[in-house]
């Protein structure tokens, strides 16, 4: 899931300064799960902005709506009848959602209310950690399901480096050494011989931005 955090209220205020009518648009998928941009969080931000406007003596209209996903056209259709009357749309989706919204409503000002952080997993209530760097060439089969591209600070594919210290990383003592984790996991599953495999230099070409992917099932149709 994509993990994001809300921008500071000052940043958001600065973006919508002088605007009279703003629509806060939430996204009901990833950012709703990471408690950043779902229906509840939209309600909180909209209430904050409304109250701040009144307290500072410049009342404005802050409306709110949450769609299932902002990165799919069919869900953005629901907004068509609403958006024209607003000075700006304040999107609480990840960067993909914000851009898609801006693209879909070409003549509207679309502003981001969150910072997109990473692709991660929930460690516990309210805690997420990065798990995937979207390197487009997964080698988790080689490394016991632990990603050296993400967990290793140095992205080492042949580790550990000389800086591993009792299972911790030399770059940041709070972080686990990915290669110690990989070694322990391979030991558990009886596949330590995989440590001997030398990985060739990483091919970064698939990571070239911006990525584009057409599903095989649709490739033929696209050609026609």
């Amino acid at each position: 899931m994509i993990v994001a955090e809300r921008k500071s209220l000052e940043r958001i205020e600065a973006m919508i300064e002088g605007m009279q009518k703003v629509l806060v648009v939430g996204c009901g998928t990833c950012v709703a799960v990471c408690l950043t941009g779902g229906e509840k969080e939209v309600e909180l931000l909209a209430a904050q902005l409304r109250m701040k406007g009144k307290l500072e003596g410049h009342p404005r209209t802050i409306d709110e709506i949450t769609v299932t996903r902002q990165c799919d056209r069919e869900y953005l259709e629901q907004l068509i009848k609403h958006v024209a009357e607003y000075d700006a749309l304040l999107s609480m989706a990840c960067g993909a959602g914000v851009q898609f919204l801006a693209e879909y409503f070409g003549d509207q000002i679309v502003l981001p209310a969150v910072n997109t952080l990473f692709i991660g997993a929930a460690e516990g209530a309210g805690v997420w950690t990065q798990k995937c760097a979207a390197c487009a060439d997964c080698l988790l089969d080689q490394t016991g399901g632990i990603c050296p591209m993400t967990i290793c600070t140095k992205n080492l594919l042949n580790g550990p480096c000389g800086g591993t210290q009792h299972g911790k990383c030399e770059v940041d003592g709070d972080k686990d050494c990915a290669w110690t984790l990989i070694y322990r996991k391979l030991e558990k599953i009886g596949a330590l011989d995989r440590m001997r495999i030398i990985q060739p230099p990483k091919n970064y070409r698939p990571m070239t931005k911006p990525g584009r992917y057409v599903h095989e099932a649709y490739q033929a149709a696209k050609k026609e």
Binding site: K40, A47, Q48, K52, I65, T68, Y75, Q78, H82
Partner: protein, 189 residues
């Protein structure tokens, strides 16, 4: 133990009370003929774990001068840890209202066990006294000014799992207890 009122200010204090503890304590305070601040509006809730920051902000936006949530004593929650969640929600909401310039003291969380009638009255008086010190909620005068709302969303035309109009999804299908007979192929002659 009534507080002195400032001229023309009738405070509105909303108390979200857990039915198992604080609300029962309120009942007990009544049975004990304890007098407590009449400005407190008690809202009975099934568990303080249900309280979220949006609910608290909504009360303040609608003009309440103070809002407090009263739940079970630590470790005594009927639903194991609802009171701790309620406490977290209040702490978060305090941060949110501080950001916009409202005094975070307008929100509070109290632990009030069911047997503590006098404590219920004490907390109600304490919160009312606090409001009298802080003064009226500045949002109260402007609460009737429209400032936006939640737009009504049409039913999702593409829900993640559509309801079928005929038959049912395989995972919702009832399974028979009898084993299904395999289809016998007739031997070719």
């Amino acid at each position: 133990m009534r507080q002195e009122k400032t001229a023309g200010f009738e405070p509105v204090v909303v108390a979200y009370c857990c039915t198992y503890c604080a609300y029962t304590a309120g009942d007990l305070a009544g049975s004990m003929r304890l007098e407590y601040a009449p400005e407190v509006r008690v809202v009975k809730i099934p568990c303080t774990g249900k309280v979220d920051a949006a609910l608290l902000l909504r009360a303040l936006e609608d003009g309440a001068d103070a809002v407090y949530v009263a739940g079970c004593a630590a470790g005594d929650c009927h639903f194991r840890e609802g009171n701790l969640r309620g406490k977290e929600a209040v702490a978060y909401a305090k941060k949110l209202i501080a950001e916009i310039g409202l005094d975070p003291e307008r929100l509070e969380f109290f632990h009030i066990p069911a047997s503590a009638g006098p404590l219920f009255a004490e907390r109600a008086n304490e919160m009312t006294a606090r409001v009298l010190r802080l003064g009226p909620n500045p949002l109260r005068q402007t609460r009737s000014q429209p400032a936006g709302r939640k737009l009504v969303r049409e039913p999702d035309p593409h829900p993640p799992l559509p309801q079928t109009k005929s038959g049912c999804l395989i995972r919702e299908a009832k399974r028979g207890t009898e084993p299904v007979e395999p289809i016998k192929k007739e031997a070719k002659q």
